[in-house]
């Protein structure tokens, strides 16, 4: 510390001291020290009074109580019973919270970017519908939205007895007519791939017209059987209505000669379609029956949640996974090799397609090889005091072996167990609870509304000149977006996007409103039961702090990669 005045005239002690006190640097340091001391004082006072009060009630803050038996149920938690400890309950809650946050961030990013681009769309309807939803979502409380999702959307699903099942439970009939339509459409697409626009219009209009005419004809035949019912398959050339129909078609076709050439393919396509559809109907060439398929449902949806197949890795999985990893490695290597080749020769190779093909080939061949190995012997189970071999399915059904044990007897690398209804519950299948879906949906949609605005602002922040320069260079629209607009928009988008990510993570604690067992809901119960509220809340705070810090660090790293270099 040197004083502001010079020592030439050797000023008095008082003057020198005053010079020190009014020195800006001195004031800064002392100010900081005083502020720090005040904070420490306030915190110790708070802490002491809290510990005194808690100790008086025999509740000294500690962590040992977390080893105690929890004694409460957590709905849908696997491998957790009330006999587990508080720590185990915490882990269940943490897993649920993390699951919500990870899938929430993924979902909201995708939906938010889409909505943001829609907000700038040239399509009036799309732009304004998106704007409408964004405004509603941004301006109503999240808690209300979670309740709406939970009660209105999710709980309006049918009870378990009447679950939606995909594909339908029992026999599904697929009409031959529909199959014929699909086959025709595929053939038409293949034939018209490289045809002129006029021919494409002609072909597709004809197909659409034929489908409409046939559907309409069947509908009329069933609605007014007296007048139209006998028309299906009549096939007689003496009927006057048949000739009127032919005449009308011919007339319309001739009319096509007098309209602008632009509309001609559409008109002639429509006439051809109507003619083909009409003739097929009149001569009864349309099968009324359908393909009968008996399929087991893969997904059930009801008011207790979404039930989907269980997927297990069997003891052969590792072997197959080696093939997959190898395929992945070769695919990547091929991708980079072809890219190098393209860069050096300038000749474009479809590198992604080749890489994916190699990967798929390894995956499929690996599956066939691994599944083709000789089947293991049947499991030995104890029956009437003796060990006998029994088929896996039977042993499972009789509950002589567990699902995990059965996996070493399967021949395929992956075992898929479809959900199966047993009375009023599901015997197998994983369940996503309505609480989980409602919370995830509400968080995703709510946060996406904010992200949409951020993305919109980010894209608008890129100067118009950038767009014009890219266009003038001949870049296509997708190249322009990818190479010019997005890299520049991202540097504006990322900082506020980080805030929204943090919001989503923290808002996930609203799970308690619909009793979803996230970390806050679980620790709240733990605190109430054990009386150790301070510790329980501290654990919750530390958990969210760590999650938030991870998100922040990740996003800061991403952000640093998108900043512009200037002088």
């Amino acid at each position: 510390m040197n004083s502001a005045t010079t020592a030439q005239t050797s000023p008095s002690f008082f003057k020198r001291a005053r010079a020190v006190i009014t020195d800006l640097r001195f004031i800064r340091i002392v100010g900081q020290l005083v502020f720090f001391a005040l904070i420490i004082f306030a915190l110790t006072q708070l802490w002491n009074s809290m510990v005194t009060a808690l100790t008086a009630n025999n509740l000294t803050p500690n962590l040992t109580f977390m080893q105690n038996r929890a004694g409460f149920e957590i709905g849908g938690a696997q491998g957790y019973t009330p006999d587990n400890t508080y720590w185990d309950a915490f882990v269940v809650g943490l897993k649920n919270t993390l699951s919500i946050i990870v899938f929430g961030l993924l979902g909201t990013t995708i939906l938010g970017i889409l909505a943001g681009v829609f907000l700038l769309s040239g399509n009036w309807l799309l732009r304004n519908i998106t704007r409408f939803f964004v405004e509603i979502l941004r301006n109503t409380p999240l808690l209300v939205q979670i309740f709406i999702m939970f009660f209105v959307v999710v709980l309006s699903l049918p009870p378990l007895r009447d679950s939606f099942a995909v594909p339908r439970d029992g026999i599904t009939i697929i009409s031959y007519t529909v199959i014929a339509y699909v086959i025709t459409a595929v053939v038409l697409w293949f034939v018209l791939r490289k045809a002129s626009p006029a021919r494409k219009t002609f072909g597709w209009t004809a197909l659409a017209a034929a489908i409409i005419v046939i559907t309409l004809a069947f509908w009329m035949a069933s609605a007014q059987p007296a007048a139209w019912g006998n028309l299906y398959g009549a096939g007689s050339l003496g009927d006057i209505r048949f000739w009127i129909f032919i005449g009308l078609c011919a007339g319309a076709a001739v009319l096509g000669l007098f309209i602008p050439a632009k509309f001609r393919p559409s008109l002639w396509g429509a006439v051809t379609g109507v003619l083909i559809g009409g003739l097929l109907f009149y001569f009864g060439a349309i099968p009324a029956s359908g393909l009968r398929l008996e399929l087991s449902p893969v997904i059930y949806l009801n008011n207790r949640g979404l039930v989907y197949p269980e997927v297990y890795a069997t003891s052969r999985f590792a072997e197959w996974f080696a093939f997959v990893a190898l395929g992945f490695g070769f695919g990547i290597a091929l991708f980079y090799y072809l890219r190098r080749l393209t860069e050096t020769t300038g000749k474009p190779y479809p590198r992604l397609r080749y890489a994916v093909l190699v990967f798929l080939a390894f995956t499929i061949v690996g599956w066939l090889v691994v599944s083709g190995e000789p089947a293991p012997r049947n499991p030995l189970v104890e029956q009437d005091g003796a060990l006998v071999g029994m088929p896996v399915q039977q042993a499972l059904d009789e509950q002589l072996i567990t699902r995990e044990e059965s996996l070493q007897y399967s021949t395929t690398p992956i075992e898929v167990v479809l959900p199966e209804r047993r009375g009023l519950r599901f015997g197998s299948g994983q369940t996503i609870s309505p609480e989980y879906s409602a919370l995830l949906l509400a968080l995703v949609v709510y946060t996406a509304a904010f992200i949409a605005e951020i993305v919109r602002a980010g894209i608008l922040a890129v100067p118009r000149g950038q767009l014009e320069a890219a266009r003038a260079l001949g870049l296509s629209y997708s190249q322009l977006l990818r190479m010019v607009i997005l890299p520049q928009a991202l540097r504006v988008i990322i900082p506020p996007l980080t805030n929204q990510y943090l919001n989503l993570a923290k808002n996930s604690s609203l799970a308690i409103a619909i009793s979803f067992a996230d970390v806050y809901q679980v620790m709240n119960t733990v605190g109430n039961q054990s009386g150790q509220s301070v510790t329980a809340i501290t654990i919750v705070m530390v958990t969210y702090l760590i999650i938030s810090l991870i998100i922040s660090f990740g996003m800061n790293w991403v952000n640093s990669r998108f900043q512009l270099v200037t002088r």
Partner: protein
């Protein structure tokens, strides 16, 4: 359209025009910006467009590569008719390079990447070929040592020269300049004009909107004077500057010369 390739640089102007504008009309809402503009530009010709601000000169050259859409009339560039078909528009843009008043370099890419972006992605050249071309062009505009820098680290004049190199990298047949020196400090104007002059000498077809009358007089084959969306007068620089016919031209020239 292929004849000029065999024509040594700048010897004579071939008869077949490379840009044809026939009664081009454009409105911004109610405002009539371009009124019946009919102009042809021959290969290797240097055309300078002058006029007061708001006269439609910038809008006119932006119509030539479809940064603006004209509503009536016909524009044919290098034998390709400008329509609504994106393939035609893309083909025309490949043949035309453009330099803007605000440079519009891509700030997230280095100078070299800026110049290489279009050749590698639009022309699908190999990286080696594009880089060689880019370095050659940076040499030509006089800033080979700045290749690895970002646009934000360069002066205005250097940025504009990079922008010219970026446009030239696509090997265009035509170059459009939209007030290329208007955003520059006075001492940087000359370095950009020198590059443009050299380009004109090498036989590039150029349409230049500028307020640099000295450049127009020295380099242009033809000067067009625009006012209120109309092509008022055109002629060689000497005849237009020294002996303007139209009163509007006289007034404009008396104000700026």
């Amino acid at each position: 359209m292929t004849e000029e390739k065999n024509n040594p640089a700048g010897v004579e102007i071939s008869a077949e025009p490379i840009i044809i504008c026939d009664r081009v009309n454009k409105w911004f809402g109610e405002y009539h910006v371009l009124r019946d503009i009919s102009i042809t530009v021959a290969p290797q010709e240097v055309v300078v467009v002058i006029g007061p601000s708001g006269s439609g000169k910038s809008t006119f050259i932006r119509c030539i590569n479809r940064l603006e859409e004209h509503q009536e009339g016909e524009i044919i560039v290098d034998g390709i008719a400008m329509g609504h078909d994106i393939r035609n528009i893309a083909a025309i843009r490949r043949e035309i390079g453009m330099v803007f008043q605000q440079f519009n370099l891509f700030p997230h890419l280095t100078v070299l990447q800026n110049v290489m972006l279009a050749p590698t992605n639009v022309r699908r050249w190999s990286k080696e070929k594009a880089e060689a071309k880019a370095r050659e062009l940076l040499e030509r505009v006089g800033i080979p040592e700045q290749a690895e820098k970002y646009p934000g680290q360069l002066s205005g004049g250097q940025q504009q020269r990079v922008a010219i190199a970026r446009a030239l990298a696509m090997e265009p047949k035509i170059m459009l300049f939209d007030e290329p020196t208007s955003a520059l400090d006075p001492e940087m104007i000359k370095e950009v004009l020198d590059v443009m002059q050299e380009l004109a000498k090498s036989g590039m077809t150029m349409v230049v909107v500028t307020h640099e009358m000295g450049f127009a007089r020295e380099v242009a084959d033809r000067v067009l004077f625009f006012d209120q969306g109309r092509l008022v007068e055109s002629g060689t620089p000497d005849s237009l500057f020294d002996n303007p016919q139209h009163p509007r031209t006289k007034m404009f020239l008396s104000q700026i010369l």
